[in-house]
Every structure is written in structure tokens, then in C-alpha cells.
Subunit: 148 residues, 4 copies
């Protein structure tokens, strides 16, 4: 890992640690690569919908966040990102031991970064896609007071 | 309130009470009308993103749920709904005393119900729209074992 | 109509006239108001899908354009807009004498304008909603060489 | 090519030929594979927006159609599909000799088929992605009178 890659990962992990909803839901960063971030959300009894599957809102939370941090890996120090919109397709009920959201950058422009993400339910060795997200991140100047 | 309206509200509130993520986030149902449901989410320290605004995932959670229950108000006893997709536009940072998500049915078909929702941040008497959602709900037969 | 309103309408109509696809499909501007634009598309045999309804792509074309021009009504002379994304829900088959797309601004920010639009099929006095669109417009500086 | 593959391709090409908007815009089917369809749209002067790029509506038209036919490749004889919603992100101006939309099935359910598509601008040997689409197709019974 180069020094840059270390700095980028530290930046992402530092920002993630300040997202209190991640602690509340139990989500963790599993991997940070250039243009790609993975977040894992273990199944737990407090994040469910009425059929005892993981709530679509929790799926969207980790999918949006994986996409946002994937975009942030490509930003210079003086820029950060904010989600401006996302769309999520729910493909199957979210059940199993954990969810894994993988966000990737499709195109990084000067003003907007377009991202794509997949969310999988994992159960032992089995893995099934449960959601597909596309999200647009707006590039913001951290000089305006917005931290990562 | 007619007996039907009471039954519908009881159905929605019963289902909502089984969504454990709502208790975890602190969300509550504020109103149930035919084709329209309101959910309130008070600001609290455990639902934030890194800039200390309410996380987009929490906004999406209550917006999707308001839309889903708006659709459920129009379903007969033997049918329920599942979100198949939603898109959310984030219009402004979510700060204030509480969020209010209002979901409404745009069109109720036999197989799909299309909904539209607004999310507002409220602070004293002030109210500002922070998100706009469109969501598609799939109609499912409760006879297949899916409860509301 | 104030002089400003006249200038804005002239700007929109001038830009629309340069969109050759509008002539190809047969679409026309029906109304320009501050933050709201209407486009009409008469039924014609060359814009159909395989069931002889108006193609979803033609619906999307006028819906996106109505939203884009609604945004443009709120731009100063030195700024224009480009669509960065839109989502469209198709509510019913598009049949009848004509379609009418109405785009409206939900929130005009400095960098992005969020819009919402409805598309109706009209047949004599009858009117039925056939689509719902949300679209994000990126504000661009016309000084960069982009005309309206 | 197996007999099944031939039948599927014939079904797609027959349906496409009945979409009059495709002739109007100048689009053609470039490839049909199981779960994947390609459509090509040559640059032409009648499909442009005001900056003389190909209009987002034309991009959406071929992207939606590529996704719809990708879904149709997986349908039995007695079922067809209708687009219920799509979202498109526009990544770059659509200029060049032609556009190529590639639609793929992500998940084929009994009631809904979720698809993902990319649109590229091609200019000589160069190829650049200009759009990303996700679309939901509703499965319909052709016995109800809807042809492919």
C-alpha cells in the first residue's frame, strides 16, 4: 500500500467513524480501494422490517455510504462529496448473516461523481445480490467548512 | 372516522410496530389517511452522518416507509406491499428538531402502486423540504405467508 | 407579462427551436411560466412502441425537456442547465390525442436544480396521468461556450 | 446458434420492427444474446438537443429499449414485458458517429425483471460511456392481448 492509499483509507475510516448512524446500525468498513469501498452490515434484531428481513432503509444507508466513500477516494484533500440523489432497486429479501455493499465510481467529473453499487446478502459461503444502487455525488469544497 | 378507516390505521400501526428499525432510529407514525401516511423522526445523536446532519439513509428509511404504508392503506385485507425500488433526491441538509416524511399514492394498479413523498425538516415553526422520493411498491398476496 | 417574463419565454422558445428532436417527434411548447414549462406531443404514427402506444422514450424526451426548461426559467442570463439524471415512472399506457408534460422546479440551488414533472394523456376532455418524472439539472456557465 | 436462440432473436427483431419510433430516430438492433441486447443509434441531424449533441431523450429511448428486450429474451412465449420505471444518469455529452446501448438482465423474477444498461458514444475506434440506466420491467401475460 502506498502512502497515498494509506492516507485515503485513513480519511475514509475517519469520516465513517463520525457517522453515528453506522454505529447505531452496526455497519463497518470492510475494504477501501481506489474508486471502490465495501461496507458490511451484520444481521441484527434492531434493523428489521415487519417480515424480519433487513429494512430497505438500512440497505440504502450502507449502499449510499459505500458509493459516497468510493467517490471520496478520488477526491483531492480540498474537496469532499455529498449525495445529491440515489436510486435503489431491491432484488430479493435481505436475509442471511450479513449484507455487503460495494460502491464503485463510474465517472468522476469536476462537479459530480456518478457511482454504482451492489448489495449482497451473505450466508455462510452463499452470496445473493439483494440490491442495485446508482448514486450521484456532488463535489464540495472543504474550504467552505464541510469536513469529510 | 369510519370503522374502515380505524381498521386501516390499526393495520398500519401494527405493521409499523413490528419494524424494529423504527424503534432503533426513533421514528413514529404521525398520521394515517387514505392514500397518505406521515412519519416523524426526531433529531437524535445516533442517526447522523459526518457533518452532524441526519444521515441520508435515515431520511430514505422514513420516506420509503411513509410511501409503503400510504400504498398499504389502499390494499384489501388479502394483499400487502413490498418496495421494489425508490429514488430519492436530497434537496438540503437535514437539520432541525425533527423530520417529517409524507408519502402519497399517485397511482394504485393491480400489480404495482406508484408513490411520491416529501420529507421536511421542522425547527420550531419553520419547515424546509429536504428530500423528494418516488417509490414503486409491488402488490403481494398475504396468503403466501407475508404478513403486513 | 413583464419584460423579464417575455425575455425568459423568448429564451426558452429559442432554445427549444434548436432541439431538432422536437421537430422530429412533433413536440411543441405549450406554456412557459416562472419555474414551470409545458410541452405538448400530439399522437402520431412515427413515435410508437410495438403495442401502438406512444413510446416511453418519447414520453421521457418531453418530460425531461419540460423539466430542463422549467429550470432554465430560473437561471440568470449567464447560466444554463444540463440534465444530469432523471427517473421516470410509467403509470399507464400513453394513448389519446396528445401528451402534455408539465415540468416544475422543486428547488433551485447554485449548482443543481431539482425538478418534478407529470405527463398526461389527453383525449377530448379526458385527462389521465401516464408518467411521473424527477430530474436533476446541473447549472453551467454559458461563458464556457454552451448556449442555452 | 440453437433453434431457441434463433426464435428468441426473431421475436425481438419482430417486435423492434413494430416500434415506429426506432425507424424515426434511425436506431437498429446490433445484437441479441440471452439476457443482453445491443441497440445502435447513428448520429443524425434530426435527433439533437440545442448544443447539437444527441438528445437525452433519444439516449433514454434506446437505453430503455435495450433493457426491455434484454428482459424479453428471458421470457417464455406466453409472457412479455412493459417498462414500469427507469432512471438514467447522463455521464458525458453524446457526440460521435453513433451511440451503442447495451441492456442486461440483473435479476429476472416472476413479476418483475430488473435490468442495467450502459450507453457508449463511438467515434472511429474511440468509445466513451455517456449514460447508465437501471430499469424495471413488469412481466405481462400475452394472453391479455398484448403482443410482444
Amino acid at each position: 500500500m502506498t502512502r497515498d492509499a494509506k492516507e485515503i483509507e485513513a480519511r475514509i475510516r475517519g469520516s465513517f467513524a463520525r457517522q453515528t448512524i453506522m454505529t447505531t446500525l452496526g455497519a463497518e468498513i470492510a475494504a477501501v480501494r481506489a474508486g471502490e469501498v465495501e461496507i458490511v452490515l451484520p444481521f441484527s434484531p434492531g434493523i428489521l422490517q415487519q417480515h424480519e428481513f433487513i429494512h430497505a432503509g438500512a440497505i440504502a444507508t450502507i449502499a449510499d455510504t459505500a458509493c459516497g466513500y468510493a467517490a471520496l477516494t478520488m477526491m483531492p484533500r480540498e474537496a469532499a462529496v455529498l449525495t445529491t440523489e440515489f436510486k435503489i432497486n431491491l432484488l430479493a429479501p435481505a436475509k442471511g448473516e450479513r449484507l455487503r455493499a460495494i460502491g464503485r465510481v463510474v465517472r468522476a467529473g469536476k462537479k459530480l461523481v456518478i457511482t454504482l453499487g451492489d448489495v449482497f446478502a451473505e450466508d455462510g459461503a452463499a452470496r445473493k445480490q439483494v440490491a442495485l444502487i446508482t448514486a450521484t455525488m456532488m463535489v464540495v469544497d472543504t474550504g467552505t467548512g464541510l469536513r469529510d
